[in-house]
Point group: C2
Chain length 613, copies 2
């Protein structure tokens, strides 16, 4: 059931205990609303990406917006159709990682996993920048501070997630619905207008349209196509979440998938129709979506509603990464491709590290892009398409192995999808290489290599630990406990108590340096010790200067050498002060000793916390 | 003997074990060379500080260079005389901190200590910038990169000290001698010239001389005096190092002190005579010392020799802070004014933190000053003068309590010195307040407050620990050892062995989460456990999700509540991988459990390192 969660927007496994009743699960409609968040949100930057590429060929180029969009819609159709098949084939939830693991072997599945990891990170960056762009389109005065606003939004989202809030998919239904409805209204109204009702938003902004209308080459169209395909991100989310649908799961999930394709297609085509009808020109600082809202609804409350809806949806879409990535990492950790800490159902602390790591990398990307969506979108597309391609190829394999009725048709469909997405991935990478695609080209193999290194290390360690094999029966050794002592106090007494309870024999040791005051101090301690007479010998260890831990460590080594039968334990008493900053004042000797003993000996190290009360 | 080291340029206590023979100790001459490093080095920036202030009053103002220098020489004489008395009164080595502690109470001694700390830090910054200035005077092309060069030099010095190299005072003799001799030669030769033999160095550099010759007010002269007094820093070093002189210590130290005064005085006066004779004008980018070398020796190899000698001496002078500050901190830590870690004769690691901290703060000052000596010099002077003043006031007290023969005269002398230095301190602070003196005005009280807070905390904790008091006799409790287990391996076996050796009773516990796979895993573990049959029960702890440590912690608390007589120990086995990075793959469960248990229970935590072999 955990595979459910190997994709953005899906709900982490922990959120859905197996005993959840059917009525808690998703219908086609609720499922659509709950899981299509990312896909719908991508409408905010997809069309813009197309227009910006075509603008390089001047007004003439913009004429190709609609054709390109239709091509993308075509690809969308193919993807939806083939994901319907993924749903049927993987009712337990697919996810390119799972599909590849079953049908394409470990290496490929790792590539899929790596691309997913990159997607989660880029999804945060893209959604945040696009959301801020929606806001700055409404309030142009904020445009110059967009990077800071992006970082602020990121901090906000991170803060929410640090508090451990992972909201259920259901929370997404309302904002998604609001957004979709408002976009559809925008399109519907716009279709009844022959000319833009307002161009206030774009007024006074520099047009990025090239003046010299160059000829529109195939490469340019490919570029536009590839960039625009970023509007298809998130189409896979439904296929990964089949188990959270109400029975008949597959049917409902498939229906939701088709509905998603339909709505997304309508929105994309509708928007591009309006773009051509209003002869809309891309300008710096105002999103295409904002201009369209302006043109069809006018520069009034409706305009601001759409901007805010967009902003909020994109923020939520960024948030899904924080829910999804940890779960993917958990899957990888379970398969020994990542440190097991990621698989720990541990206390909040651990979870926080992950959140912070994700936030930091995203922040890096935000700074790298200067808060500009269109720098990040292509990178995002690459990872997504790699995932698509792998999933589809995996499906082809699946059909060939299954050879069920009409398997050739299904295989053909998936194969066609694979080719399209694969080509798109290559095109984006090639055309955007210098603009940042190199990041992906470097990061992806590195990630895969890292996964494999970790995996090899775990295998080796596991073998040497004899994991799973039943070990030889345990035996009891004589136990000698050593207590480092520097003065006489309730803490010392407490330590000696613990030691006598733990050991067959106990020795207190104190380190003495060759200078006068140390010798005096040691002598004083010894006399006080005799006076106390705890029935435990106090051994004085001479030491060269600048050493406290090493003498004790070598003493321990010596004992281990002389008395092979004994198990040596070093018990280090520590004060637990009532105020946190007072930690700085305490236990430093202990830390030094523990460090040395751990480094140079095989002794067990005991730390006794003594609470001041 | 440790007080020896409470001042810049002195040798840390550890460097001079008490058994060192007399022949290893210093004579008046070697002592002078070894301990006057800082004082001599200050000649490189002292006169310059005067000239720069006076330049504000134009050529007319520069005419007062000699009178001001003479006044400073006068103060020098008073200081030397009164430090002769300090030497006599504190044959164990004085140091304003020690003097104040004996005669002026804790609060004042802390002020002295704080000012010393600031001096150490500022000494690094001033010496580095001045050294680089000497270099850039020889190679003007480097002038624009001076900040980077300062940081580079700092990194170099830090690196040397990180490697734990604290060279003995003796290493300073040669460079100090070279520097002093070359300066004296410079002066001697210059006195035989009526006009500068070369002005090549200053050529093409913008003069900082004010054109409109304003009248020279008393304030300006005070300013010049105060800034110039920075040339007196380091005069106290000898008085702090009496114990490292050969018998008769006091006599030899006093002789060295007088010699220091003489040499320093001669250099200061000599240089200022040349300044007036050559009508030298300060320019941006070339030090006054460089111009003088140029003027009297010509722009030849001799000029470069002097620049390099200066550079090297100043670098060494910066280095003394790295030897001296840790020792002062150790003194404060011994008196419970700083965390005890500073007093640990610990292994290199600890020492390194101190070095790095000092380097970071100095780097901050370098950036703050933009690599410009004359921004830092006044700040430096403030701290030094506070130290001077406190030491002298302390001496006045000393004489009044002693009431030896002619005590009035001695007290008068020290009192006079105190007034002079005190006034200078006030003047510098007032005149340079906006230029950075505010830093000191803020930092000093903060440091004192911090010292006192730490001291109070230690006293409280010490009382509650019953430090020194002989504790009640120890008793043995029944020992129950708990071993968290997640799977079966040699590590588990090793842990159970250790536990059975340490405890009267041993229980293995495993945490199980409510989801399916966890239950399956737990069941598998239990059956394997029965098969192994180590004679230790395996307890299954149910847990809400996202928790591994808490269930174990609460289990421990429950036991502690049920069985008051028992001492509970949690034994956490850890794998010690052979490669460092593999630490990332291991022991994370252990860390989480240890954290929770330490936080919520009073149980002893044992960590068993298991080396893969």
């Amino acid at each position: 059931m955990s595979v459910l969660t190997a994709a953005p927007g899906a709900t982490p496994a922990d959120e859905e205990p197996p005993d959840t009743g059917e009525r808690h699960r998703l219908t086609a409609v609720t499922g659509l609303a709950a899981l299509s968040l990312d896909a719908m949100a991508s409408v905010a930057y997809g069309p813009e990406a197309i227009v910006l590429v075509l603008a390089a060929a001047g007004a003439h180029g913009l004429g190709f917006t609609l054709p390109v969009t239709l091509a993308i819609a075509g690809l969308l159709a193919v993807l939806v159709a083939s994901y319907r098949q993924v749903i049927a084939a993987f009712p337990d939830g697919g996810g390119s990682y799972a599909v590849a693991k079953t049908h394409l072997g470990a290496r490929t599945s790792l590539v899929a996993a790596a691309s997913l990891v990159l997607d989660y990170v880029l999804n945060v960056a893209v959604a945040v920048t696009a959301g801020v762009a929606a806001l700055t389109s409404a309030f142009p005065s904020l445009y110059d501070d967009r990077l800071w606003m992006c970082l602020a939004v990121l901090v906000l989202i991170t803060g929410v997630n640090l508090r451990g809030i992972v909201e259920s998919a259901r929370a997404f239904i309302v904002p998604t619905a609001v957004f979709v409805v408002s976009i559809l209204v925008l399109i519907a109204v716009g279709l009844f207008r022959s000319a833009p009702v307002s161009t206030a938003a774009a007024a006074g902004h520099a047009s990025v349209l090239a003046d010299n209308a160059t000829t529109v080459g195939a490469l340019l169209l490919l570029k536009a196509f590839a960039s625009g395909c970023s509007a298809l991100t998130g189409v896979e989310a439904l296929a990964n979440a089949v188990p959270s649908f109400r029975v008949p799961r597959v049917k409902r999930a498939q229906r939701a998938e088709v509905a998603l394709g339909a709505v997304l297609g309508v929105m994309l085509i509708g928007l591009s129709v309006l773009i051509s009808r209003f002869h809309l020109q891309p300008v710096a600082g105002v999103t295409v979506l904002a201009q369209l809202a302006d043109a069809s609804l006018g520069h009034n409350w409706a305009f601001y509603v759409i901007q805010f809806a967009t902003m909020i949806l994109l923020a939520l879409s960024a948030n899904t990464s924080f829910g999804g990535l940890p779960v993917l990492l958990k899957l990888l950790a379970r398969d020994n491709y990542l440190p097991h800490v990621f698989a720990l159902k541990a206390d909040l602390q651990v979870h926080r590290h992950g959140v912070l790591a994700l936030a930091l990398v995203s922040a890096g990307l935000l700074v790298f892009s200067g808060g500009d969506t269109n720098t990040l979108v292509p990178l995002f597309a690459i990872g997504v398409f790699i995932g698509f391609t792998i999933a589809q190829v995996g499906m082809v394999r699946h059909w060939r192995e299954e050879r069920g009725r009409g398997w050739r048709g299904k295989a053909l469909l998936n194969g066609f999808g694979a080719v399209l997405t694969g080509v798109s991935a290559v095109v984006v990478t090639a055309t955007k290489f210098e603009d940042g695609a190199w990041l992906i080209v470097i990061a992806l193999p590195l990630l895969v290599a890292a996964f494999e290194t970790v995996h090899r290390a775990y295998t080796r360690i596991g073998e040497r630990l004899g994991l799973g094999r039943v070990p030889e029966p345990p035996h009891r050794d004589r136990s000698l406990v050593i207590v480092p002592v520097s003065n006489l106090s309730r803490l010392t007494c407490e330590a000696i108590n613990a030691a006598t309870s733990l050991g067959d024999e106990v020795r207190a040791v104190t380190v003495c340096h060759p200078d006068a005051e140390d010798r005096a101090h040691a002598a004083a301690l010894e006399s006080a010790w005799e006076q106390w007479n705890p029935g435990v010998p106090l051994v004085r260890l001479a030491s060269e200067r600048r050493a406290l831990g090493r003498p004790i460590a070598s003493y321990v080594r010596a004992i281990a050498a002389d008395e092979p039968g004994t198990r040596v334990t070093v018990l280090i008493p520590e004060v637990e002060p009532d105020r946190l900053w007072q930690r700085l004042l305490q236990n430093q000797r202990g830390a030094v000793v523990a460090h040395a003993v751990r480094k140079d000996t095989g002794a067990v190290i005991c730390r006794l916390r003594f609470r001041l009360s």
